[in-house]
């Protein structure tokens, strides 16, 4: 009972921390500040009016929405232009037909999280929708943190979760855009499936099964790419897996029930994709040569993707202070290369397969279809799979003999390095929206968030504090399993000043 209570407390703490972080972004951001937000707002307003299948034009479509939501693109993709160039979403709410690239998107996300836009087509609806989106993501991420702290024989994976949760995810957590929930579902799915398939045998943890099912269901629903991510994540974690464990899982009614739920979600999502032709390619011809496509992809797009996964905010136009990326790459290097080094052959192949499975499909698709679709990729598109890389690697390090004390040291170092980055990214992006980076002081700008500059800055500071406590506790929470007899020589000599013996691990 105590264990359960402490789990609930940790979940609540994590949920509050993540939600506050997402709320900070919500309150800081102009309408259409986050990537593609207006497209999704228009879709949400249309869905709210019952326009589930939108009249199509090319790859886009039309929705009838209040005029208050029909805003332009005077500042997105132009980092030096402040958000004050655009009128605020208030005034005349007469309906008008507006084009949106999200017109064919699955309506479920919009019905669940963006319904307030249909009721209040102004700041109230937008903020409420952002907050609902942020809360749903926070719930999934809190589940992942509790899973990392409770369901593993080793807590090393907490470091992987901390590396996985980049500022880009927080930015999407404060936006009306289904990409955020897709990524959060990826994090939760990894956190549930790794222990379910590889940690313990002899019993089936129903909570793990439930989290896996819910996150898989959430993953496949809002965007058509979710199906691909489910296949990749399942493939990487199942191939190979212990047959005995698979048989054990197959005997569990809970697993059957969960699998049925996921199959239903997959079928529904596939049906929507086919009916609404969500994934139908565009038919342009840009006339790019193969050399031009490859050169642009390798030298421009791929490096941008690396930065964007950490955070190039807004419409991928607001590069953060660049040392942010250096620090994040270093932390990712510690965990990823550590996992590759310490892992067994199977572990390494799993990591490499996840790397290839995460990046190859969309990058190959982009190269093959650059003339028809253009260079469409952004770092955030890869995050539902990429979040698994540090999680899997950190889990491997812990599983292959990194002592518990050292796992905790890595987690806490990662926290000290990475959490403050959230405090840099939000004020810097606010400076971009408020003054077009003319001033780095967010209070010196021609635009101001609807509830002022102070609220998001206070929220992000509190959020970082709460998350610090959350992860600190998660990394050092009581061990979930009783101490086992060590197979090898105890590694307790690792903290003394004398050299440890060779091959102690």
């Amino acid at each position: 009972m105590n264990r359960r209570r402490s789990g609930i407390r940790l979940w609540l703490l994590a949920f509050v921390g993540f939600w506050l972080l997402h709320a900070a972004w919500s309150f800081a951001t102009p309408l259409n500040g986050p990537p593609d937000e207006l497209q999704h707002v228009i879709r949400a307003a249309g869905v709210g009016r019952g326009e589930i299948i939108a009249p199509a034009e090319g790859i886009h479509g039309y929705q009838n929405v209040p005029k208050t939501l029909n805003r332009g693109w005077c500042f997105p993709t132009k980092v030096e232009v402040a958000a004050s160039c655009e009128p605020e979403p208030v005034g005349d709410e007469t309906a008008m037909m507006v084009n949106t690239t999200a017109a064919r998107y699955n309506p479920v996300y919009y019905l669940v999280s963006a319904w307030p836009v249909a009721v209040w087509p102004n700041w109230t609806g937008i903020m409420l929708s952002r907050l609902i989106n942020g809360a749903l993501m926070a719930a999934l991420l809190a589940c992942a943190v509790v899973a990392a702290a409770r369901w593993f024989g080793h807590k090393g994976i907490v470091a992987g979760v901390a590396v996985a949760l980049t500022p880009m995810i927080a930015h999407l957590g404060g936006a009306i855009n289904p990409a955020g929930i897709e990524i959060a579902a990826g994090v939760a799915l990894f956190a549930a499936l790794i222990p379910l398939l590889h940690e313990k045998t002899g019993e089936v943890n129903r909570a793990q099964v439930a989290l896996a099912a819910v996150s898989a269901g959430v993953l496949v629903t809002p965007r058509f790419t979710g199906l691909m991510w489910l296949l990749i994540i399942l493939g990487v974690l199942l191939v190979p897996a212990s047959r005995a464990r698979l048989r054990e899982l197959a005997r569990s009614p809970a697993v059957w029930l969960a699998s049925g739920f996921v199959v239903l979600c997959v079928a529904a999502s596939l049906a929507w994709t086919l009916v609404a032709r969500t994934a139908e390619p565009a038919g342009w011809e840009h006339g790019l040569s193969v050399t031009t496509i490859l050169r642009f992809a390798v030298f421009e797009m791929w490096p941008n993707v690396a930065n964007q996964m950490i955070g190039v905010m807004g419409w991928a136009e607001t590069l953060m202070p660049r040392l942010v990326y250096v620090v994040w790459f270093m932390a990712a290097g510690l965990v990823l290369l550590g996992g590759l080094i310490m892992g067994s052959r199977v572990d390494r192949w799993r990591l490499i397969a996840l790397f290839v499975g995460t990046f190859a499909p969309l990058l190959a698709l982009e190269i093959l279809s650059a003339n028809q679709i253009g260079f469409f990729n952004q770092g955030r598109y890869f995050l539902p799979g990429a979040v698994g890389l540090p999680m899997l690697a950190a889990w491997i390090m812990a599983r292959r003999g990194l002592p518990a004390e050292q796992q905790r040291s890595i987690t806490r170092l990662v926290l000290v390095l990475l959490l403050p980055v959230q405090l840099i990214c939000l004020p810097y992006t606010m400076a971009r929206w408020n003054s077009g980076l003319v001033s780095l002081n967010p209070y010196n700008g021609s635009w101001e968030p609807p509830y002022g500059n102070t609220l998001p800055l206070v929220l992000v500071t509190v959020a970082v504090g709460v998350l610090f406590v959350t992860f600190w506790r998660a990394a050092g929470a009581p061990e979930p399993v009783p101490p086992a007899e060590p197979e090898h020589e105890d590694a307790s000599d690792v903290t003394v000043d004398e050299p440890v013996k060779a091959g102690h691990a």
């Binding site: 202070p321 040392l323 067994s344 002592p403 518990a404 004390e405 780095l440 060590p486 050299p499 060779a502």
Partner: protein, 517 residues
């Protein structure tokens, strides 16, 4: 002993070939500040040890049709002038313009009439130029330039080979080999294929760190004479060519000694060889300091750029200098204008993160303070000086200036990991994985920089350019490919676990929970 010599020879061959590849690929003045140092070298060899200061209008003025541009092109060139053969003075038309190929400047050579030209290096210590730049006085043209580059490359290769052998033979689990793999960035290879004393300073830093870590922290009893000699020779080398060497010596010795076992330090101080080399390093330091004072090498400039404090802080911390420095330590080639394909930086930062953050996370309190202290001592002095003097000197820092201390972060990180975490087998894997990931990047960087010099990026094929290296495009590519292969073999051999050292069986079974303290 024999195997150590063989390893040294192989490592020397690998590094020198890598440096030669850069030497063979680069146009004259392609590497950073090369013409400034070539002019200084030609002047020094002509006996112009203390360069006269430039009076207004004192340098030769370019006339119509001249192939050189001796007018001070930068205020930093005003430190003094040298009278050198006209064949070494070329217009600076392509440096800092990555889209301009190197054929905009005439090749060096031809008319050797003496001309007076300014150079930023006019007051630099002459020792490097006498030892490595003498061919320029004999052949003030391509043969002299290539030979001078090759001599610099050989000196850098010799120091790195010593460091590599030391790392392999003297350190626990050969951990410092992994540190060397990460510490020797493409930027160092680029500098080692150039007439520029910066490469030697960096290599001396790598060798000094390796030797001192061995003497003070790896070996708890007895004196390793070879390590003492390497420490002494690299300290002497470090303090000589550039005035910053004295700063680096203080930083490196401080980082190694604070804290350390007093007993061990006393044992070292009592040793005759240590004292002998200590005196040699002291004399070299005094000589370096003496030159700096006599020649006025660090006399500050007195301009006023009129930047506000906010502008300086924003430009340094956020917009340009510090983020650029991180990339430049890995490699932004030429006159810091040729950014490499950006994913190479990601790979290098990740590799650095493994060693540095791994050491920071898993070290003892003393290890952590040492790593943090070294980090601060490496970056704080020059960055603070830049902020404080930005209005007088401008934003002068480049990543390569910091490499001499920064290499120690990789080496100390690797040292800590082997002591606190990684078994011999894992250290071996670490070294080999890092070599596998990072060595090919050397080849990518050379090819990409050749593309920049040969065509100004109009084509990504180095054979498709308006400029070609004097001995052809194929030779440097071939040399670099061989060098990368040799270095891979070197790292592979250097990381081998000797027969007799425990090597536990690897298993696919997970380790039990709670194996730690």
């Amino acid at each position: 002993m024999r195997s150590a010599v063989r390893l040294w020879l192989l490592a020397f061959a690998g590094f020198w070939l890598l440096h030669l590849a850069w030497a063979l690929a680069a146009p004259y003045n392609g590497p950073p500040d090369e013409q400034r140092h070539a002019i200084r070298a030609a002047g020094v060899l002509d006996g112009q040890l203390i360069a006269p200061p430039v009076q207004p209008g004192g340098a030769d003025i370019a006339r119509d049709g001249d192939v050189f541009n001796p007018v001070p092109s930068s205020e930093r060139d005003l430190s003094g002038y040298q009278t050198v053969p006209r064949s070494l003075v070329r217009p600076r038309c392509f440096p800092q313009h990555p889209d301009v190929p190197a054929d905009c400047a005439p090749e060096p050579g031809g008319d050797t009439t003496p001309v007076r030209v300014t150079t930023e290096a006019a007051k630099a210590n002459p020792v490097y130029y006498v030892l490595a730049g003498w061919p320029l006085s004999v052949w003030p043209s391509w043969p002299g330039i290539m030979l001078a580059r090759a001599l610099t490359g050989a000196a850098v290769a010799a120091l790195l080979a010593c460091a590599l052998v030391g790392a392999s033979r003297w350190t626990r689990h050969r951990a410092l080999v992994a540190g060397v793999v990460v510490a020797v960035t493409p930027m160092t290879a680029h500098l080692a294929g150039a007439i520029n004393p910066n490469g030697i300073e960096i290599a001396a830093g790598v060798a000094l760190f390796t030797a001192l870590i061995t003497l003070v922290h790896e070996q708890r009893a007895g004196i390793n004479r070879a390590a003492v000699a390497l420490a002494g020779a690299s300290a002497v080398t470090l303090v000589t060519p550039r005035f910053t060497g004295v700063l680096w010596l203080a930083v490196i010795v401080g980082a190694v000694l604070l804290p350390s076992s007093r007993q061990r330090v006393r044992e070292l101080v009592r040793d005759r060889a240590v004292r002998g080399w200590g005196i040699a390093a002291g004399v070299a330091t005094l000589a370096g300091l003496g030159w700096t004072l006599v020649a006025g090498t660090v006399d500050p400039l007195t301009y006023d750029h009129g930047f506000s404090t906010a502008e300086i802080l924003r430009a340094t911390a956020i917009d340009h200098v510090w983020p650029n420095m991180a990339n430049q330590m890995v490699g932004v080639m030429g006159w810091a204008e040729t950014l490499m394909p950006r994913l190479i930086y990601v790979a290098w930062f990740m590799a650095f993160g493994l060693l540095f953050l791994g050491g920071l996370a898993l070290g003892t309190r003393a290890d952590r303070w040492r790593l943090i202290g070294l980090f601060v001592a490496t970056f704080a002095p020059l960055t603070l000086m830049e902020i404080l003097t930005a209005n007088q000197i401008g934003l002068f820092n480049q990543g390569r200036y910091f490499l001499t201390g920064a290499v120690g972060l990789c080496l100390f990180g690797a040292h800590v990991l082997a002591r606190r975490w990684l078994s011999a087998q894992w250290v071996r894997l670490t070294t080999r994985l890092l070599a596998l990931v990072l060595l090919p990047i050397h080849l990518v960087c050379l090819l990409f920089t050749m593309v920049r010099w040969d065509s100004g990026f109009r084509s990504i094929n180095p054979f498709n350019g308006s400029w070609a290296p004097p001995l052809g495009v194929a030779l440097p590519i071939l040399t670099c490919t061989v060098a990368v292969g040799v270095l891979f073999a070197v790292y592979w051999l250097a990381s081998r676990i000797p027969v007799g050292e425990t090597e536990p069986e690897r298993t696919d079974e997970p380790a039990p929970a709670l194996t730690g303290v």
